[in-house]
C-alpha cells in the first residue's frame, strides 16, 4: 500500500477514496484515447478537502489529475503517471446568479448547461455553448478553455471569466481576478489559469460574466456547389457588418452521412452547407437576414433555405448535432481534431485535407464552427486495425502541419493534453515552449499537478494505437 494513502484518507471527512480495481479502471479514461490506471480516485466534497489532497500530494510528490465529467477530447484528466485522480464533480452544486452585476458564481462541479438555464430564468445568458454542455462540468470547461458554436460572436470560456478561486500546487487557497468587468490589478492570473488544463492549479470556484439574452434568433441554411465558395461566403458575410451568432459548416461527406443515418432532407448533392444563426431584436434580424440572403445570392450559392417555423429550424440544428453519431457509422473509431485556421484560409485548409485523405487512404470528413475558422476534421478508422491507425497518426500530424503553415493553431477548443503535446514546438518554437515550461516550474516545483499534459516528454509521439 502507498504510504500516502492513509494520511490521504484521514483528512477526508465527507469525501471518499476509491481504490477497487473496478473503480480505478473507471477513472482511467476520458473521451479521447488511451487508458492509464490511477492508484486512487479521491472524490472531494468541499474546498478544504481539495487543499488537503493537494498539500499531501505535494508533500509525498504524488501526481494529481483534476477531473470533471471526463468528457475531455484531448486527454486532460488521464492519469498518465499513476497517482491520484481528483474527482471534482461531486462538490456541492452552486449557481449564484447576481442579476444586478450580470455575474454568476459557480462551483466547478455544475454542468455548463445548468448555468445557462439559471441565467435564462433572469433574462440573461451564459454564452459559451460547447456541444457537451449538458454533460461537461464548468470546471472542465474552464481548465480546457472550451468553445462552442456561439464562440464566433461571443468568444470562448476565457472571455467570460471574471475571477477564480484556486488551490495552488503547494496547497494555498487563493483568489484571482474579481467580480468586475474592469480589473487591471497585477498580472492576469485568471486568464493564465483558464486553459492551463489543470497543470497550474485546481479551480474550486469561478465568477462568470453573463450577458442579456438575445430576444430572438433566426436560422438559415445555405448550400454551395463548391467548398471554396462556401469559405468565401463566410468571409463576405463577416465583413458586411453582420455578425451571426453561429456559422456551422458541413462538408458533403457529413451531409450524406446524416442523410443516411436520419434523413431530414438535406441537399446531398451540395459540396458543402452552412448553417447560420442570427440573434438579436426581431426587427434587426429581418434586416440582417435580407442582407445575408443577398450576399449568398451574389456569391452564387446553390440554395438558401429559411425555415418557416421554430420546429423546422430545430430540425436543421438537430441535423448538425447528428453529424457526430452519423459519421461514426462510416467507421467506429473517430479521431476528432480541432485544428483552427484564420477564417479566410478555410478553403485552403479544405484542399489540404483532401490531399491528406488521398495520400493516406483514409476516411476524412470535416464539419464545425467555420465562422471562426475552427473546423473539426475527423478521421474515421477502426481501432482494431493497427495498420490503419498508424496511417491515421501520420495524417493527424500532417493536418497540424497544414494548419500551422496556414497561420492557424493546433487546437481551437479541445486543448493539448496528451495527444497534441508532441506538436507544441511546431507551433510555438523551442523558446516559446520553454517560457511556458518556466511558468509551470514556478507554480508547481514538484510537478504534481497533471504531469504529462501540454508538454511532451522526451521522444513522445502521437499514438492512437492500443498497445
Amino acid at each position: 500500500m502507498n504510504d500516502w494513502l492513509k494520511p490521504l484518507q484521514d483528512g477526508l471527512i465527507e469525501g471518499r477514496v476509491l481504490t477497487k480495481n473496478a473503480d480505478l479502471y473507471s477513472y482511467s479514461f476520458d473521451a479521447s484515447f488511451g487508458e492509464y490506471l490511477p492508484e486512487a480516485v479521491v472524490q472531494v466534497k468541499n474546498k478544504q478537502e481539495v487543499v488537503h489532497v493537494i498539500r499531501l500530494a505535494n508533500q509525498y510528490k504524488v501526481p494529481v489529475y483534476p477531473r470533471g465529467a471526463g468528457t475531455c477530447l484531448s486527454g486532460g484528466p488521464l492519469p498518465v503517471h499513476g497517482g491520484i485522480v481528483l474527482d471534482l464533480s461531486k462538490l456541492p452544486a452552486k449557481i449564484d446568479v447576481s442579476p444586478g452585476d450580470l455575474t454568476v458564481t459557480v462551483s466547478p462541479s455544475v454542468r455548463t448547461q445548468d448555468i445557462n438555464i439559471e441565467a435564462e430564468k433572469r433574462g440573461l445568458m451564459y454564452a459559451p455553448d460547447p456541444s457537451s454542455a449538458h454533460v461537461a462540468t464548468i470546471g472542465g470547461n474552464l481548465a480546457e478553455n472550451s468553445g462552442g458554436p456561439r464562440g464566433l460572436k461571443y468568444g470562448v470560456t476565457k472571455d467570460h471569466v471574471l475571477g477564480l478561486e484556486i488551490v495552488t500546487p503547494e496547497g494555498e487557497l487563493i483568489r484571482t481576478g474579481g467580480q468586475t468587468i474592469k480589473n487591471v490589478t497585477g498580472y492576469d492570473l485568471t486568464k493564465l489559469i483558464v486553459g492551463s488544463e489543470g497543470t497550474l492549479a485546481v479551480i474550486v470556484e469561478a465568477t462568470l460574466k453573463l450577458m442579456p439574452k438575445p430576444p430572438a434568433v433566426k436560422t438559415m441554411m445555405v448550400s454551395f456547389h463548391k467548398v471554396r465558395t462556401a469559405g468565401e461566403a463566410i468571409s463576405r458575410t463577416l465583413t458586411s457588418g453582420v455578425l451571426p451568432s453561429k456559422m456551422e459548416f458541413m462538408d458533403q461527406a457529413c451531409v450524406r452521412a446524416v442523410e443516411q443515418f436520419q434523413p431530414i432532407g438535406l441537399p446531398v448533392d451540395a459540396a458543402a452547407i452552412i448553417l447560420i444563426e442570427l440573434d438579436g431584436p426581431e426587427e434587426a434580424l429581418r434586416i440582417e437576414q435580407e442582407k445575408v440572403e443577398a450576399i449568398m445570392e451574389e456569391m452564387g450559392a446553390k440554395e438558401v433555405i429559411i425555415p418557416e417555423s421554430d420546429e423546422e429550424a430545430a430540425k436543421l440544428w438537430h441535423a448538425r448535432k447528428q453529424v457526430s453519431p452519423a459519421i461514426a457509422k462510416i467507421k467506429p473509431t473517430k479521431v476528432s481534431e480541432d485544428a483552427t485556421v484564420p477564417r479566410s484560409k478555410i478553403p485552403d485548409f479544405m484542399d489540404r485535407l483532401q490531399t491528406i485523405k488521398e495520400k493516406y487512404d483514409l476516411e476524412v470528413v470535416a464539419f464545425g464552427h467555420a465562422g471562426d475558422g475552427n473546423l473539426h476534421p475527423n478521421i474515421l478508422c477502426d481501432q482494431r486495425d493497427p495498420e490503419e491507425m498508424k496511417r491515421a497518426e501520420k495524417a493527424v500530424e500532417e493536418m497540424f502541419e497544414a494548419a500551422i503553415e496556414l497561420g492557424g493553431t493546433l487546437s481551437g477548443e479541445h486543448g493539448i493534453g496528451t495527444m497534441k503535446a508532441p506538436f507544441m514546438e511546431m507551433e510555438l518554437g523551442d523558446a516559446g515552449v520553454d517560457m511556458m515550461r518556466r511558468i509551470k516550474r514556478a507554480w508547481d516545483p514538484h510537478n504534481i499537478l497533471n504531469p504529462g499534459k501540454i508538454f511532451a516528454e522526451k521522444g513522445q509521439k502521437l499514438v492512437l494505437r492500443n498497445e
Partner: protein, 423 residues
Amino acid sequence: MSNSLKQAYDLTFDCVQCGYCLPACPTYETMESETHSPRGRINLVKMVAEGKAAVQDLEEPMEKCLGCMACTSVCPTNVQYGEILENAKEVLDESKPSGRLESFLFEDFFPSKTWMNRLGDATWLFQQTGADRITNRLPWNLPLHLEAFADIMPSMPSPVKRKRRAERYIRRRPAVKKVGFFTGCIMDSVFFESNESTIELLLRSGAEVVLPKSQTCCGALHAHSGKKNKAIELAKENIAAFEEEAFDYIVENAGGCGAQMIEYPSLFEKGSRWHARAVEFSNRVKDISEVLVEIDGLVFSKPIEQTITYQPSCHMTYVQKVVEPPLALLEKVPGIRLQELERPGFCCGSAGVYNLVQHEDSMDILDVKMQDVCQTGADQVVTSNPGCLLQMKLGIKREGMDSEAVHLVDLLMQADPAPRSLR
C-alpha cells in the same frame, strides 16, 4: 474468450466514451461514481475482454445496473447497451455456480403456473389471517427484505375466484379484434384484479379475448440475469402458444414483459425458422394502452376529480417505445388533472427483482423518484408494470403520503368505461 464475452466486446467499440449517458443514469446519480455508469460498465467489459481486469471486477457494477435502458435513449452512437449488459451477465453467470435459491427461482418458480398460484394463494391466506399486519413487529427479518413489501400487497381474491376464470371471452359479435392476452406471472398472481380489469376493458372495447393455456413466463428475468438458454426455451413456448389462433394483437399489461417479448427475435439466429416465428410474434405484441387507443371503443362517463401523475415503466419507454398512449387514455377521463413528473424517464428502482436483491440501492433511487412524485401532489400514481406498481406503493408508504398507486387499467375502470355506441 467465451462467446458471450466476445459478443459484448465487439459491441463496446461503438462507445466513444463521450459521457452523454451519465446524466441519464440513475445509479450514476445515486452511487456517484463512474464505475456505476453505462460508460464505466462498458469500459469494464472491454477491460475484462482484453484481460486487463478480472471477471470479478465486473460483478458489482453489472449487478447494480438497473437495466432501465435510459442510457440508450441519449446515446449519440446507438450503443447496444442492452446486449452488452445481457452478455456480461452471462459471463458472470458462467463464472460462478448458481446457488440453490437462485436456481429454484429461475428454473422452477417463475416459469411455473403452479408456483404462481401458490404465491397468489399464500398472499391471500396471509391477508386473511392478518399475518401481513404482524410482520412489521416480528423480531427477525424476512429474507430479501420481503417485510418491506408485506403490507403493500394488493388485496387478493380467493383461490376459488381465480380458478373460475375462463379461457375465452366474447361479448360483441362479431368482435372488432381478436386479442390473445398474455397474463404474465406476477400480474396473474399478485395483481389478478388488474388482469381482470384488462380483460374487461378489452371486452367493453368490443374485442374477443383469449387466454392461451400453454403460455408461460416471458423470460425477462432470466434474460436479464444471464440465463439466455432458459429465456430462449420460454420464448419458444410462448411463440407456439400464441400461434394456435390468428390474433390481431398479443396484449400484455406489464412493460417489462412487453419489452422482453418485443425482443424475442434477438434470441434467435437471423434467417432461422424460429427467428421468423419470433418476428411474427413480436410484431403483434402490444401494451394494453396501445390497443385501447387503437380500437378506441370506450367512453368514460364517471369523472375522477383528482390529481393524477403517471410513472412510466422504463422498459415500456425505452424498449417498447410506448410513451403517448397511456397519457392519451388518461386525458380521456373527465375530471382528471394530469400532473406530469419532472423526470418521468428516471427509473423508480424496481427493475425486475432489483428492489429485492439490491434493496438499499433501490431505496436510494426510489427516494429520488419520490421527491418528484411528492412535488406533483398526486392523489393517484398511475403505473403500467407490476414492479413499478409495487415500488410506487412502497414509496408512498415510506413517504407517509396520502396517495394511492394504481395500474392504469384499474384507474380506467374507476371511470366507468362504457362501449362507445355504434352509430
